[in-house]
């Protein structure tokens, strides 16, 4: 069972404090929602877990190791951060093929994840022509490529059509039921309420609440009510 451990992350961008001691653990077997106002530090935290941003202090580890120290890292953690991070002239399938090659994975994995993401038909078209929803699906395919025990997704519902939203919800729930650690940042409280077992609420670069969804619903009637109450007065962008 693989956890994500975020311990005392701090980061300044010039004069503004992006992360101010961000600390939480993501447990396997459930979807953990990662919520907070714009600018609260969600994306920066995800980028630090994945080694894209460098913390001023603190650590972020997957299975006790930094992402950059993992051999074939996409087999340990899959990420959907930026759906536009692709070569526009390359087909979706070829995008996945070079990723698979970099992780010592066979091309057969590429077709498996393309099918699972509903891109089997569009896989041979240039990825530059994909809609946002299709790019999200391609990003999910890339995240699933290495069959990783940990998944991190930043706003995965953006740009999906209603059928896509249902698909994403079922997919994430299924991945958690497999025993994976699934961390999902989102602004869609109703989606998370149906899907997440746990939420980490952040503001001003640190954790405000780290609690079970049922617990919060019991105390506040709905996840949205809990969120609004917990983040009241916590403006995101400073």
């Amino acid at each position: 069972m693989t956890t994500i451990e975020v311990n005392g992350l701090r980061k300044r961008f010039g004069p503004s404090v992006a992360l101010d001691g961000m600390t939480f653990v993501v447990q396997p077997g459930r979807v953990t929602g990662f919520v907070g106002p714009n600018g609260a530090g969600k994306s920066t935290t995800l980028r630090m877990i994945l080694g894209l941003d460098r913390p001023d202090a603190g650590t972020a580890t997957i299975d006790g190791r930094r992402y950059a120290d993992l051999p074939c890292p996409m087999r340990h953690a899959g990420a959907l951060l930026d759906p536009h991070a692709l070569h526009p002239a390359r087909s979706g399938r070829n995008h996945l093929r070079w990723l698979a090659r970099s992780q010592d994975l066979p091309d057969s994995r590429v077709d498996e994840v393309l099918n699972r993401s509903g891109l089997a038909a569009a896989g041979r078209r240039a990825a530059g022509g994909y809609s946002l929803g299709m790019r999200q699906r391609l990003g999910v395919a890339a995240a699933l490529l290495g069959d990783p025990p940990v998944l991190l997704l930043d706003e995965p519902f953006n740009g999906l059509d209603p059928a896509g939203i249902v698909w994403m919800r079922d997919l994430l729930r299924g991945l958690a039921e497999d025993g994976r650690s699934v961390l999902v940042s989102s602004h869609l409280m109703s989606e998370l309420q149906d899907m997440a077992g746990h939420v980490v609420v952040v503001g001003h670069g640190r954790v405000i609440a780290d609690a079970g969804v049922n617990e919060l619903i019991g105390a506040y009637s709905s996840l949205e009510a809990a969120y609004l109450d917990l983040t009241a007065g916590v403006g995101g962008i400073r």
């Binding site: 894209l52 950059a68 890292p73 930026d82 991070a85 890339a142």
Partner: protein, 212 residues
């Protein structure tokens, strides 16, 4: 790959210049002066294109060890540029009478082209933008010689001629009246190597330190 095809055409194109000159080796290798711009563009694009498309974030998730990534790109770039430089320079000097000077000029030119590609890659790692990186490299190679000619202070002029790649190709390919040149061919190659190495080391340091 378009810049490399262009580089091959430009470098090899020297073969059309004939051999009726005081210094036929230098004449034939004039294409290296043009071709180096295309090689620099190939080096820049190898990394900067990933920043302009956003692909770099996918790349760094697949290969989070950034120094390994830069080393792999440098190796791949060299593997592409080297055969093109050998072929281009080889075609350019076809039919000239073999001599020590000719072989030296050809070998140094090939090595120079490889270094210029790496210089472009290093510059791209430093500024992370195609236009800016190519601007830096091309300014040093093409704008610098013109500016140096206008410099009033002869001491500074001499120092800059000896420490920048401004007249490197001229120094590398001239086989007649070499006494008037500020640098010998191997020293000129050394200067270019220092610039390329410096750009790569600074680029590697910044790539390692900066947020992606």
């Amino acid at each position: 790959m378009v810049p490399l095809a262009l580089a091959l055409l430009l470098i090899a194109g020297g073969v059309a210049l004939g051999r009726d000159a005081v210094d036929p080796v230098q004449l034939r290798l004039l294409g290296v002066r043009l071709g180096q711009a295309a090689v620099a563009a190939a080096g820049v694009q190898m990394l900067a294109a990933e920043y302009s498309s956003g692909l770099i974030r996918a790349t760094l998730l697949a290969v989070p060890r950034r120094l390994d990534l830069l080393a792999a790109k440098a190796g791949l770039l060299t593997a592409f540029v080297a055969p093109i430089a050998v072929l281009g320079v080889g075609v350019a000097v076809l039919g000239l009478t073999p001599s020590g000077d000719l072989v030296r000029a050809a070998v140094v030119s090939v090595l120079h082209l490889i270094l210029i590609g790496l210089f472009g890659l290093g510059a791209a790692a430093v500024v992370r933008n195609s236009a800016a990186a190519l601007g830096i490299v091309l300014s040093l190679l093409f704008l610098m010689p013109m500016l140096l000619r206008m410099l009033p202070d002869p001491d500074w002029q001499r120092i800059l001629y000896r420490t920048t790649p401004a007249t490197a190709v001229q120094a590398m390919t001239t086989t007649v009246d070499t006494a008037i040149l500020p640098l010998g061919p191997w020293s000129a190659l050394g200067v270019v190597a220092a610039w390329a190495g410096g750009a790569l080391v600074l680029g590697a340091f910044l790539l390692y330190r900066r947020d992606a």
